[in-house]
Symmetry: D3
Subunit: 135 residues, 6 copies
């Protein structure tokens, strides 16, 4: 049977949900207060899951130090204390919803982690709203 390991981290970012082709009024109707023009922000909590066999030599599925470093380098350093819409390459046209941020993080990390491991992303936007990708 396989084992899942999880690593939790955090980043604090500004974002705005809207579509450029809509007016502020239309965006407000669809995205509510999340479309506030001058951005708002969150303390995002990220949990990365890696599923695989435990190595009998080390007792590790994957070295947590290496996983933590991958998350720091490829997610935290890109997103923390940034404006997701303006400061990252990913959300120029893609709406930075929790669903889309989780999917982007999956796509960033997937090629960095050996293909024999399954990968899962949980992202908390607030304590009350969170997502898993894939489900």
């Amino acid at each position: 049977m396989k084992t899942a390991i999880y690593r939790k981290s955090n980043f604090c970012s500004a974002h705005r949900l809207y579509r450029k082709e809509f007016s502020d009024e239309q965006n407000l109707a669809i995205f509510g207060k999340c479309s506030s023009p001058n951005y708002h922000g969150h303390n995002y909590t990220l949990i990365v899951k890696v599923v695989g066999e435990t190595d009998p030599e080390t007792g590790f599925v994957i070295d947590m130090k290496i996983l933590a470093q991958l998350i720091k380098e490829h997610v935290e350093d890109k997103f923390d204390h940034k404006n997701l819409n303006l400061d990252t390459e990913y959300f120029k046209t893609l709406n930075p919803t929790a669903e889309n941020i989780a999917k982007i993080i999956y796509e960033i990390l997937r090629p960095k982690i050996d293909a024999r491991f399954e990968l899962g992303i949980r992202l908390y936007e607030t304590e009350k709203n969170f997502v898993d990708y894939p489900a």
Copy 2:
């Protein structure tokens, strides 16, 4: 691949675990202190999971505001600051265990949420005891 979204909420209720056809002594033997005759109560924490495709237009699986409103109207307003055994229609004969409360919430919400979405209920009775329905 699908995405799961989660919405957390709370309700504070009194309940008692027992079967009417049993004596208080019998109920105590089976249900322990949870059968205390004058009720006790909990701060229940509810997490509703909805699984589906992310809409490429909005970046949402489902609009969290609509989901939060459904939970408020159909669960919180019925259960919060109520006695589950006496004040709700669901637990007149059904024992209000965490397992049964989660199942009832599933049955309340399932017809309110489009059938293309999977639905899951997590219910914390205390920080130490919780259930998922379905598993």
Copy 3:
């Protein structure tokens, strides 16, 4: 300088806020949904603070095992899985608000703990509402 030690515990109780001399309608006007006639309930979280000098022999202000046992015997065993209004001697006429429950717990524990220690009670009714007695 003195040291404060804290011990956290929990009890799950039903209660109702109301005054017998008022009608249900009057109680509703004053106490809101907390006056719901058939009771509701909470997972109360209790934090007992004891302030004193650290004993140079043991490195303890007070033996945490003894404090935990006092809390269990005199608070948890009386309040847990009980109806505060009906099953305890303290809230026959006194309204079981968080303020009053904290004060009663203070009065229960104060004579059990040596007078050279200061005593403080924090009581969480929910994660969002809590009190300290004394302030």
Copy 4:
């Protein structure tokens, strides 16, 4: 002896720490990543403390529903899903550090709460960084 009551709430805001009279480079040297030009954001957690005598009639220091409504109207509605620097009147020139936000919230709420009560503000910027005003 007096009792303290506490009410917890949340708001999600964007902000940037900087002084207009400094260059971006100077602000980076002084404020670090918190000076990122396009803003970042936080899930702020606010705990408002009110200290007073418990009313023997109601068992309340202050009605928690009224306090919660004051916080919603005068803090959450002004700060939630807003850019603190751009969308509020308070931080046009004042740096929106946790220290200053807590002080502003104190000054907003102080005249709304009867002078016989003491008032205290705790503000969490993240789970790791928080402040009390007054200390």
Copy 5:
């Protein structure tokens, strides 16, 4: 559909990650600060999941009191306030990584719980690092 129930508990243990056939220097290279020779320790949080049908008579999947007692007797009493490497039979040669501790707990509890129930173990070594066995 089946229901999952979860029971949370805790134990505080010392451990060291290393292989006897390696030198301290080699262990440090592979296991980092977790190989510190004189041990370090953790507040482990254990969540045991049991999946099955809800008994229509009781409304329980399994009696939580019985499950809690099994965990206390077979896990907490063996691991709590112990050195996992020195004081338990399980980690004389097996490295006490979170992955291996979760697997051992699974193997301890599996024969104690009726085979018609599925069993799952979640183990938090810290708030940031945790594992599931099986995945």
Copy 6:
């Protein structure tokens, strides 16, 4: 009025409560399972409080980055993944109770922080047991 700022951090250590001049049996009688001879351990959570005036120039009481670095260098690097009794200079004869660890951390940090600031230490040994020094 002054402002208090708080910085939270963590360290994972092994320890044992006992006095060398007592036998294991005597230590067990006095210190209970905390005297287990081969050590046990905890995820300690440390909250450092600094009280002072907010600098009108920066809006900081003290630069949180500098405080975090002080804690890392003088507390975490000394205590994390260490055996408090064996690997540190502080607990050769002093019992590493939560009370004493908090006092030692106070004494380590006090000379590193400007005398115009008040300093306070909160240390959680577990989620249920914690101390403040000074009270």
